[in-house]
């Protein structure tokens, strides 16, 4: 038997059909006023109906947060915790913590970016999650691509696990058609690629992700120049670079390194500009966001057009595992300044391993 927690955000996805970009906070009321219908039940039921394994014991939240869906199937389950009539983010967090205390193996949740953030706040990386896509905004790469894919992940557990990004989208800005995002954290997700067909081209030769990041880090560290200021963007690949330099990196922020020493931790635009005034030579090291390939404009908004202009497009080093970058059609930039975007476009080198580079287009 595996113990699987299930949390459903019953209102996620409702804004989409009525043209709202999310249901976090007050937007939910507006969605209801506009006649929005729940979309989550279909998604959750589709997922449950596609699960093949029988050895699952579900621990579910009450009523519309879980129980209502699982009841219709033949799974064994028990209900955990209490929820309010009108559920909020607090319910999600509270239930998630209770489920963890019941020692679940896997947490399945349905929702969008906001729900992913709540789950991350509550449980961090303590257990792997399967995220059923049902929100309006799903910029985070933690989400399964469909109910079918979510069911496959549940069926294949235990399997290889990978870290996927949770993004923090500024909803108010987003509703005004501006996308301001920063990397919020990572959740652990079953790696479904490993389920795919066997054959002479199967990927069992792919070296483990972590090892690849260490190789990248080693290559980058070896090529670092002494008289140059390095600005390390967010992400686990950049953390590997910092590890190689034996400095402690802020996982989700930007840190500055000079002559192998940390000279700025989790710095904002102003601090970046100050540092750039002091140092003649500076380079930015970034990694693209998995799935959409953004190197600037999403995930690291501290790298503003002004900062990028001062550093110069020739001084941008992109790093990413082979696996991540080869899955991208291109890299993307959206700094908010058309001129800066234009200068960053063209083909760029990405360091993908030790003495291993990939040339890819930036759009």
């Amino acid at each position: 038997m595996i113990k699987v927690g299930l949390i459903v955000n019953p209102i996620s996805g409702m804004g989409g059909s009525v043209g709202l970009k999310g249901t976090d906070g007050d937007a939910y009321k507006k969605a209801i006023e506009l006649g929005a219908k729940p979309v989550v039940p279909r998604r959750v039921k589709d997922t449950l109906s596609l699960i093949k394994r029988k050895d699952i014991y579900f621990l579910v939240a009450k009523k519309q947060m879980g129980e209502d869906y699982v009841r219709e199937f033949s799974f064994k389950y028990e209900v955990v915790g209490e929820i309010k009539e009108k559920t909020t983010a607090e319910d999600t967090k509270k239930i998630a913590k209770e489920l963890i205390s019941k020692e679940i193996n896997l947490l399945v949740f349905a929702g969008g970016d906001g729900t992913a953030r709540d789950i991350y706040d509550a449980i961090g990386t303590s257990v792997p999650v399967v995220a059923i896509p049902s929100g309006v905004k799903m910029f985070s790469s933690v989400f399964a691509l469909s109910p079918y894919a979510a069911a496959k992940m549940i069926d294949s557990y235990p399997c290889e696990i990978t870290d996927k990004e949770v993004l923090d989208i500024d909803e108010d800005a987003f509703r005004n058609n501006k996308l301001a995002a920063k990397l919020y954290g990572y959740l652990k997700v079953p790696k479904i690629e490993s389920l795919l067909q066997q054959g002479k081209e199967s990927s069992n030769l792919t070296v483990a992700e972590r090892k690849r990041k260490r190789e990248i880090a080693k290559y980058v560290a070896e090529r670092m120049e002494k008289d140059t200021l390095y600005l390390l963007g967010p992400g686990t690949t950049l953390k590997s670079v910092a590890d190689e330099l034996k400095i402690e990196k802020t996982l989700l922020g930007i840190d500055a390194v000079y002559k192998g020493k940390m000279v700025g931790k989790d710095i904002n635009e102003k601090e970046l500009l100050n540092l750039l005034k002091k140092h003649k030579k500076a380079k930015i090291i970034v990694t693209p966001i998995g799935g959409n390939g953004f190197i600037f404009g999403r995930g690291s908004k501290q790298f503003t057009p002004q900062v990028l202009e001062l550093v110069g497009e020739k001084n941008i080093i992109v790093v990413a595992t082979q696996e991540k970058v080869s899955s991208l059609e291109c890299l993307r930039v959206d700094t908010g300044d058309m001129k800066v975007d234009e200068r960053l476009k063209g083909h760029i080198r990405v360091i993908t391993g030790y003495k291993e580079e990939m040339i890819i287009e930036v759009k």
């Binding site: 109906s49 109910p147 496959k152 067909q197 792919t206 082979q322 080869s326 391993g353 990939m358 040339i359």
Partner: protein, 328 residues
């Protein structure tokens, strides 16, 4: 299982070839003799209008590419495309001194030629499959190839695994350019995948450096390949049938709303937004190649099968695309 995932030829070899294989196994307790390999080289030289001394045999082209990477990328930079024939790329990543990969991006999957030429300032080995697997696109033309080859420090290996489908080759340049090698296989076009027969048409530089390649291929392989070359019309007829089916498959897929990138070979590159399509199809008894592990999410390669296999694939695809639970 319907196998549409490995670009195999769905048609078996001719009766004569099957008979040659059966006859050859009578002496299977003995090692192969050098004269059998020589006879095959002679036949391949004549088939390719090349000199016999330039033909180097190998158990499949994958083995050949791996060996060439081992020999020539230790003290050279290596340039390859992504996607390409993935086993070779993976071997290269592990073994080359330094590797530069060029990502081929939709919708045109073109090689950035300028960036390749810019890279040629130091000894380099370039490996390009032409047409490319899995996009089916021709990445090279004569002008570009000659531009590369005029640099003596640059070695170019063109993987022409799908030559018989496109009939476009640079093999005739091998006499003039010592730094050119053409990698071929009889696995696909001649229906001999299970026997693994690859060969190199080598320029002088390669010939000089390769001296201890395996000279003894399995006897059934040598006999089958030689017999197949006696009657290339049989192969050509199969190719004609495959190409007709490819067109039918392409229009069938387009009709149900699947994006198809037209290639020139025995497979199709498709894009489909239904997540985990290959796993869904596998549950329904059909194997296709999911490219998301090594390349871009949502892209799949489908080999052309027998007409009835293609029918079954199209029917399942139609059911899948109409099933909302499988969609995003």
């Amino acid at each position: 299982m319907i196998r549409l995932h490995m670009n195999e030829n769905p048609y078996p070899p001719s009766e004569n070839v099957l008979r040659a294989i059966k006859d050859s196994i009578n002496n299977i307790n003995r090692y192969s003799e050098l004269k059998y390999a020589d006879k095959l080289k002679e036949a391949l030289a004549s088939y390719n209008n090349a000199s016999e001394k330039r033909i180097i045999l190998s158990p499949g082209s994958e083995f050949l590419l791996r060996e060439l990477i081992n020999i020539f990328s230790g003290n050279r930079k290596l340039i390859m495309t992504n996607p390409t024939f993935f086993p070779a790329l993976k071997h290269a990543i592990r073994n080359a001194r330094k590797i530069i990969k060029h990502q081929l991006s939709p919708p045109n999957f073109e090689l950035n030629r300028e960036m390749i030429l810019e890279e040629l300032y130091e000894p380099t080995l370039i490996i390009v499959d032409n047409p490319n697997n899995p996009t089916g696109k021709m990445l090279l033309d004569r002008k570009f190839v000659m531009e590369i080859l005029k640099n003596k420090d640059i070695l170019l290996l063109v993987d022409e695994a799908y030559y018989e489908f496109v009939k476009y080759t640079f093999a005739d340049l091998v006499d003039s350019y010592p730094n050119l090698g053409i990698v071929r296989t009889m696995d696909k076009s001649f229906s001999l995948a299970g026997l693994r027969i690859g060969y190199l048409i080598a320029g002088d530089f390669f010939l000089k450096e390769i001296y201890d390649f395996p000279r003894f291929l399995p006897i059934p392989t040598l006999f089958a390949a030689r017999e197949a070359l006696k009657n290339p019309e049989y192969m050509e007829e199969n190719i004609r049938k495959i190409l007709i089916e490819r067109k039918r498959l392409e229009s069938g897929l387009k009709k149900i709303g699947v994006t198809v990138f037209s290639g020139e070979v025995n497979f199709l590159l498709i894009k489909c937004d239904i997540p985990e399509l290959s796993t869904i199809l596998m549950d329904r008894g059909i194997m296709i190649k999911d490219l998301s592990t090594d390349w871009i999410e949502g892209f799949y390669r489908v080999s052309v099968g027998l007409p009835e296999e293609n029918d079954k694939f199209l029917a399942e695809m139609e059911k899948i695309t109409n099933n909302p639970a499988l969609k995003w």
